[in-house]
Structures are given as structure tokens and as C-alpha cells.
């Protein structure tokens, strides 16, 4: 039925099957939309956040998807600025993943603020000293850049390509994509960093506070490093899942292996600095504010196990796998490493968001727990449904993977 829209020379499932698949996923999206609507109409009392937990699952999710979406800018940077040619086979997909991550982050932010209609105040009445203002500016600008990067691919659609103006516009945009990639890199560097800076500057929250360089706390640099280490792993992971679902090879192994190697080295670099930062924080920064390292982990659910899980199991182990040739070449180990790497960055964002707020600072204050309401879960899970739908539509109607034809001869 939609044959005329499907790229030439590739095979796709029947239209009926596709509609069924999209409809099933849309149910999750609808459930999320119901939760979101309730929050917009009735207010944030629909969530389980409270005055102790001003940030909850949504901010954790925002930070996590932005970190995982870093694959888009970083792959673009490696492909268009550094000039690693092999990555042209995966850069389209990385851009789509980035687009999904950033658009959902913006949507969730629109849900998370108490007065969404005043969202523009952040731009109009900017406090340039606020890390959050920097995040808002860079995310919004970078989302525009991602749209521009996605556009040439969208215009590659078989039918849209027939319209000369659109075809030419897409072609000319693609010709100067390096300019957009460079702008995206600049913006991403600052917003990934500022997301970390957001917590590092909280000098009255000793669990999050870090010293730093000039106006940037160390978390600024650590968040950039962890994002560019996890982003490529997330791209690999989603490519693998897409290959499993479509039952096709879409990207050659050497491209994946290259991305995995880059991810591994960056993860190693991140771990080195993260461990150094933790040692300095535990021995200098926190004690200066009257806290010992163990004060942050004793007598509460977020014990030392979470720290070990983040740095050890989801940090050191994937780094070892990604850095050894045998680990990278074995598909199961590779996917496990990518999964652990991504989990590590999600835990890191969770720790900085939830654990920072959960730990009482006043000596006579108590530890408060928080568990998201169904509205928060539903709207968060809807992001996954939204991602599946965008990827499914893009995969079906756009030439996302340049190697697909070669790897799947008719």
C-alpha cells in the first residue's frame, strides 16, 4: 500500500504488519499522553514529587536521554570535523537517535515546570549565571541544529526527492552539514557540561558540590566526558536492537567496532577523571563542609552498592570489554558492554539528581523517600514509545542505513 514511499532496493514488512506494530506502541504513547495531560490540566500535584524532591524521575530521564543522545553530536563531530569516513554509515541513525532524545527531553521539561506557558521567561529574563539557563539555551539551539541535520535525510524520501526544490534544498543543506556539525559540537559541549555544572555549583548540597576550574565545577567536564563515552555505546545498542527487530544486517561490523573502540577509550578517560574527582571530593571538598565520604552512603537506601555499581560494574567492566579486541569482536560481550556503559551513565544522572536531593543536609532533618506516580511513569515510558515510532517510520520510509542494500542483496 505504501510501496511508493519505501526506498528503492530494500525490503520492508507488509503495511498491515507495520500498522499493527505502530498501533501497539501507540498505546503506550497514549497512556503517557493521558498522564501528561493530567499534569498539565490538574498541575504537578499529580506527581509524587514534593518540597524535598523538587526533581524526580523526569529530570533524571532528561539528563539520561541527553547523555545518551550525545552519540549524535559526537558521531557528527568525528565524521564531519575529524573526517572518519566509515562513520558515514551510522551518522544518519545517530542523528535520528539524537533527535528523539532531545525532542523528548524538551517535551519532558515542558511537563516538569510548574508554569509551562511561562517557559519563554528562561530566554527573556535570562540569568546568565544560572547553569540551567545555559542548558536551556544550548538544548533549544541544538535541537534546531538536529532538525536541520535530520532534514536532508527526510528529504531523501523517494517521493519527496521528486520535488526539485526540496531535493535541491536537502542537497545544499547536506553540503554544508559540517557547519551544523561544528555548531552542534559547540552547543553540546556546553549543555552537556552545564547539566553537570547544574549540580556541581550547588555549594549548599555537599553531595553534589565540586570545586572546579574558573566558573566550571569538575562535574561540568565529567558530564561531557561521560556523555561522549556513553553516546556512541547507545548508538550501537539501538542499532543492534533495530537489527534484531528487522532481522537484517544494517551496519558493517567494522563501523560498529570503530565506534565501540572510541567509546571504550573515552570511557577509560572518563573513569580516570571520575575516580580522581571522587577521591578529591571524598578527602577534601566534602570534609571541608563537615561531611565524611561515608556520611553520604550510611543509613540510607542509596548505599555504597550504588557507587560500586556505577563506577565498577557499569564503568570498569564495559571499559575493559570495549578496549580489548576480543571483547569488541564478540557480539554478546560488545552488547553487554554497551548496555553496562549506558546503564552507568543513567545511574550517574540518577545519583546526581535523586541522591543529591534525598540526602538531608540539616543535621536534624530526615531522609525522605520518593517513588514516581503512574503519571510520571507513563509520561516517561512514552518517550520510549515515541522513540520506537520515530525510528520505525524513519527506517521504513528513509534511506537511513547506506550499507543496507549491500548487506541484504535482494
Amino acid at each position: 500500500m505504501d510501496y511508493a514511499l519505501i526506498p528503492e532496493g530494500v525490503k520492508r514488512c507488509s503495511f498491515g504488519k507495520f500498522v499493527l506494530w505502530i498501533s501497539a506502541v501507540s498505546l503506550l504513547l497514549l497512556w503517557g499522553a493521558a498522564g501528561a495531560l493530567l499534569c498539565w490540566i490538574k498541575g504537578l500535584n499529580q506527581t509524587n514529587m514534593n518540597d524535598y524532591f523538587g526533581f524526580g524521575i523526569w529530570i533524571t530521564l532528561d539528563l539520561a536521554v541527553i547523555a545518551l543522545g550525545a552519540g549524535a553530536f559526537f558521531t557528527g563531530f568525528l565524521r564531519y570535523i575529524i573526517g572518519i569516513d566509515e562513520l558515514k554509515n551510522i551518522v544518519n541513525f545517530a542523528v535520528i537517535i539524537g533527535f528523539i532524545c532531545y525532542s523528548s527531553a524538551l517535551a519532558i521539561l515542558g511537563l516538569d515546570v510548574g508554569q509551562p506557558l511561562r517557559g519563554w521567561f528562561i530566554f527573556w529574563h535570562t540569568n546568565i549565571h544560572s547553569m540551567l539557563a545555559e542548558v536551556a539555551f544550548c538544548i533549544t539551539c541544538y535541537f534546531c541544529v538536529l532538525c536541520i541535520e535530520y532534514l536532508p535525510l527526510l528529504l531523501e524520501n523517494r517521493q519527496l526527492k521528486k520535488i526539485p526544490s526540496l531535493n535541491l534544498f536537502g542537497h545544499h543543506l547536506h553540503r554544508i552539514v559540517a557547519v551544523f556539525a561544528a555548531t552542534g559540537t559547540f552547543l553540546s559541549f556546553f549543555h552537556q557540561g552545564s547539566l553537570g555544572g547544574m549540580y556541581g555549583v550547588l555549594y549548599a548540597r555537599p553531595f553534589a558540590f565540586r570545586d572546579g576550574f574558573f566558573i566550571w565545577p569538575w562535574t561540568f567536564f565529567l558530564f561531557i566526558l561521560s556523555a561522549i563515552a556513553a553516546g556512541p555505546s547507545f548508538t550501537i545498542l539501538i542499532t543492534w536492537i533495530t537489527q534484531k527487530i528487522t532481522r537484517k544486517k544494517l551496519v558493517k561490523k567494522n563501523v560498529i567496532a570503530l565506534l565501540a573502540k572510541i567509546s571504550g577509550w573515552l570511557l577509560l578517560g572518563y573513569l580516570f577523571f571520575k575516580i580522581a574527582d571522587t577521591i578529591y571530593w571524598a578527602t577534601v571538598t566534602a570534609p571541608a563542609r563537615g561531611f565524611t565520604f561515608m556520611d553520604f552512603y550510611r543509613n540510607q537506601p542509596y548505599g555504597l552498592w550504588l557507587f560500586i555499581l556505577e563506577i565498577g560494574i557499569c564503568g570498569v567492566i564495559p571499559a575493559i570489554i570495549l578496549l580489548t579486541r576480543r571483547g569488541r569482536e564478540n557480539n554478546s560481550w560488545l552488547i553487554l558492554a554497551c548496555f553496562l556503559n549506558c546503564t552507568g551513565v543513567v545511574i550517574n544522572r540518577f545519583v546526581f539528581t535523586v541522591q543529591t536531593l534525598a540526602l538531608p543536609v540539616l543535621p536534624f532533618d530526615r531522609f525522605v523517600t520518593y517513588f514516581p506516580s503512574w503519571q510520571e511513569w507513563a509520561s516517561s515510558l512514552a518517550v520510549i514509545a515515541y522513540g520506537i515510532i520515530v525510528i520505525s517510520l524513519s527506517y521504513r520510509y528513509l534511506p537511513v542505513f547506506p550499507q543496507e542494500k549491500e548487506l541484504n542483496p535482494a
Binding site: 539555551f137 535541491l168 545544499h172 557547519v179 555548531t183 552547543l187 556546553f190
Partner: protein, 48 residues
């Protein structure tokens, strides 16, 4: 965001922060304009 917003101050911080923002917007805008103008010129050339 603009000099007429009352939070605005003519200081180094605003110069750097807003300068970067407007630079990015200019680059993105010019890029889009370039693609638009080239498309227009190519289409015109094709007509003749």
C-alpha cells in the same frame, strides 16, 4: 535576552553568554539562508 530587558547588564558575562548565543543563531541562520538561496538560484538556472 535583549538590552531592553531590565535584567540586562553591559558586562563581560552578558557579552560572552549572549554573544555566543547570537553567534550560534547567526551561523545557523546563515547556513539555512545559504541553502535556501542556492536552491533558489539552481531552480532559476534550471528554468532557463
Amino acid at each position: 535576552m535583549f538590552p531592553f530587558c531590565f535584567e540586562w547588564q553591559w558586562d563581560a558575562g552578558h557579552f560572552l553568554f549572549m554573544g555566543s548565543l547570537y553567534m550560534v543563531l547567526t551561523v545557523v541562520g546563515l547556513g539555512l539562508m545559504y541553502a535556501g538561496i542556492r536552491t533558489f538560484l539552481d531552480l532559476k538556472k534550471g528554468d532557463h
